[in-house]
Amino acid sequence: MSNEIILNEDEKDCLQELMNIAYGSATAAITEILDAFATLSIPRIEVIKTKNLKNHLSKEVNLNSTHFVCMQQINGPIAGENLFVIDNNSAKNIAIKFGLEEDEITEIELCDIILEITNILSSSTISKLAEDMKAMVSFSPPDVKILDNINKLDNQFIEKYQNVIIISTRLKFEDLDIDGQLMILTTDKSITYIKKTINKILNEI
């Protein structure tokens, strides 16, 4: 997992900070809707080769229990995919927070809610990130899958690209027992753009 060639320490640090700020607004948006308090965690930046992606993901996500995986495509100079992973239990708790009754919570309802959350997270996080990087992005409607096996993640995206930058953060509502992970996967071309923009920002400091 060498990332010195792709992103150096300073670039990583800068990206991390930008993500921190962007994610801060996103979380605020969600917590306003959910009327709850989230614990923000420090975003993690990793650069890995796409062929190792599945392996990496299977380690990140403990698939012993069923998880919802929601994917949304990002289009623009920063292009790639947003992955929001959340376990069944946390999803249920979000649903309850959304005002659903226990008996109203079906798989379909949960999927819908996860899609919404992902949409909200994406829009705020990436929009903010893009804004700071002076890029215009648009999103495709997200798609959700229920996973109990990492091999079911049939991601054709993976074959096309060499490297992936993974920016991951946690969405944690301690008292509500909600814990999810947001991963932003960016592609080769975007990596170049991101580097350029980050360096511009760094030079202005």
Binding site: I33, L115, E116, N119, I120, P141, P142, D143
Partner: protein, 496 residues
């Protein structure tokens, strides 16, 4: 954008366009919606959407609108999950899958201050129908696949599939039969790897007909099998399908029956030997005890002595000859030898002499003295004996008049072949079964008595071992002015 253009776009685009506020009041309703819902713009403007569409979940819609305004970006209703927002019945008649229009909805923030959003409605019915068909096809394919798998794995035969000469698939029975534990152990093997190395050349003879051949298991042990190979071409690939049926069990049973038949034949022969020996032994005993008696009574003359000893010697020689005959008979011919046909037949007849006399069967032989044939003498003997024995059994079964039991043997050469005709007058073979008598396991006798292999083996001996032909038919013939009717066996053997 000038109102005219805006109106034009909104009313000609192929989607529903609504402007809503966060209390779900309608501010704009385009023509697409008018025609599909039959609700005019004037009717619905300033009214709540839910007054016209009762099944909309208010909370959800309000929440999505609030989110889009707060985030200043689009939110969605997803087709897969929420089938539709506005309940619009479909007018389809033929090929209707869904009752209502399947919709995808996008909610885009328009005016944050006035709390207005744009709602776009896309008719996704066609996509959903296609997905539905796909799902149906997928399911039926899965069912078919399961069925085929079931079929393939419950047959008696092992089935192997070869693509371009490499094995790509095998059914469960194949793996079991050849002692492989996992399918990937046979993948990429070539056909010859499953065949006993000693039998490999037989493969070249196979041409869409099943052949008997020895197959080789994973541990190189072999077993007899009946196999068939089908060659076929599909989309530029050469396919071979190998089906294998294990004959081990059948062969074992076969062997047993053959043994039994041999035992039966042997039994008969021993009976014949016993019969042959009775007379000479009796003569020897009589001569010996006669000698003793004469000596004790002191009336032993030179002549009586010589006569008695001669009788003993003569008969002992005869006994010895009989043993030699039978010993030769039991030997399996390894090579073809030249032998005199009359000698062979006469020897055979002498073996049967006793049994035939017992049943009052008269045997007439008409044969050339100097006819030499190059073949397997013992095989001919076995075949001959079997035919005669069958005739004998027929006489008994059909209760033929004791004075009229005849077997005529006519031997001559024709066209470099030796013809042996054996006719009896045991009333012939039932025409309905005459075609089957050479088949293995076919017998008219009770199953404890007949193995059904006698004539089959005779057939194999004549046609395969001796390279000849055997035919049977019912014939009537004349002998000594008596009309006879019975079976006629015709053996045709090459002279060399």
């Amino acid at each position: 954008m000038p109102i005219k253009k805006f109106e034009f776009i909104c009313n000609t685009v192929d989607n529903g366009v609504i402007i809503l506020d966060e209390d779900l009041n309608v501010h704009f309703w385009n023509s697409w919606l008018e025609s599909r819902t039959n609700i005019k713009s004037e009717e619905i403007i300033s009214k709540k959407l839910t007054e016209f569409f009762f099944d909309i979940n208010e909370n959800t819609l309000k929440r999505k609108i609030k989110a889009s305004l707060a985030l200043n970006s689009s939110t969605f209703y997803h087709t897969g999950i929420n089938k539709y927002l506005l309940n619009i019945e479909l007018n389809k008649v033929a090929n209707k899958v869904f009752e209502n229009m399947q919709q995808a909805i996008t909610i885009t923030p328009y005016d944050k201050n006035k709390r207005l959003v744009f709602l776009y409605i896309y008719d996704n019915t066609l996509l959903c129908e296609t997905n539905y068909e796909l799902e149906k096809t997928k399911n039926s394919l899965e069912d078919s696949l399961e069925e085929i798998n079931l079929l393939l794995n419950t047959t008696l035969e092992a089935i192997f599939l070869f693509e371009d000469d490499k094995c790509t698939n095998a059914n469960d029975i194949a793996l079991e039969l050849f002692n492989y534990s996992k399918k990937n152990e046979v993948i990429n093997k070539e056909i010859y790897e499953f065949i006993d190395t000693k039998s490999l050349e037989k493969i070249s003879k196979i041409k869409n007909k099943p052949i008997e051949i020895k197959m080789s298991r994973k541990d190189s042990s072999t077993f007899p099998a009946l196999i068939k190979i089908k060659d076929t071409k599909l989309k530029n690939k050469r396919f071979k399908i190998l089906t294998v049926m294990d004959l081990s069990e059948l062969k074992r049973k076969d062997k047993l029956l053959v043994e039994q038949t041999k035992m039966a034949a042997l039994g008969e022969m021993i009976g014949n030997i016993a019969h042959q020996w009775r007379q000479p032994l009796s003569t020897i005993t009589t001569a010996a005890s006669g000698l003793k008696m004469h000596k004790e009574l002191e009336i032993l003359t030179e002549d009586i002595f010589v006569e008695s000893i001669d009788a003993i010697t003569r008969n002992s020689k005869h006994l010895s000859q009989t043993i030699d005959d039978f010993r030769d008979f039991l030997k399996i011919d390894k090579k073809r030898v030249s032998f005199n046909i009359k000698d062979n037949i006469q020897r055979n007849i002498s073996i049967l002499e006793g049994a035939l006399k017992n049943q009052s069967i008269q045997l007439v032989l008409d044969c050339d003295d100097n006819c030499i044939i190059k073949n397997y003498p013992n095989e001919l003997t076995q075949a001959f004996l079997n035919i005669i024995n069958n005739a004998k059994d027929a006489f008994i079964d059909k209760n033929v008049d004791l004075t009229k039991r005849f077997i005529l043997i006519n031997i001559y050469t024709k066209n470099n072949n030796l013809i042996i005709k054996i006719k009896d007058n045991a009333k012939g073979i039932d025409p309905t079964i005459i075609d089957k008598i050479f088949e293995p396991y076919f017998t008219t006798k009770h199953k404890d008595v007949g193995t059904g292999l006698g004539l089959y083996m005779t057939h194999q001996l004549i046609e395969i071992s001796m390279n000849g032909r055997i035919e049977v038919c019912n014939e009537s013939f004349n002998y000594k002015d008596i009309n006879m009717y019975g079976a006629c066996f015709k053996l045709t053997l090459p002279l060399d």
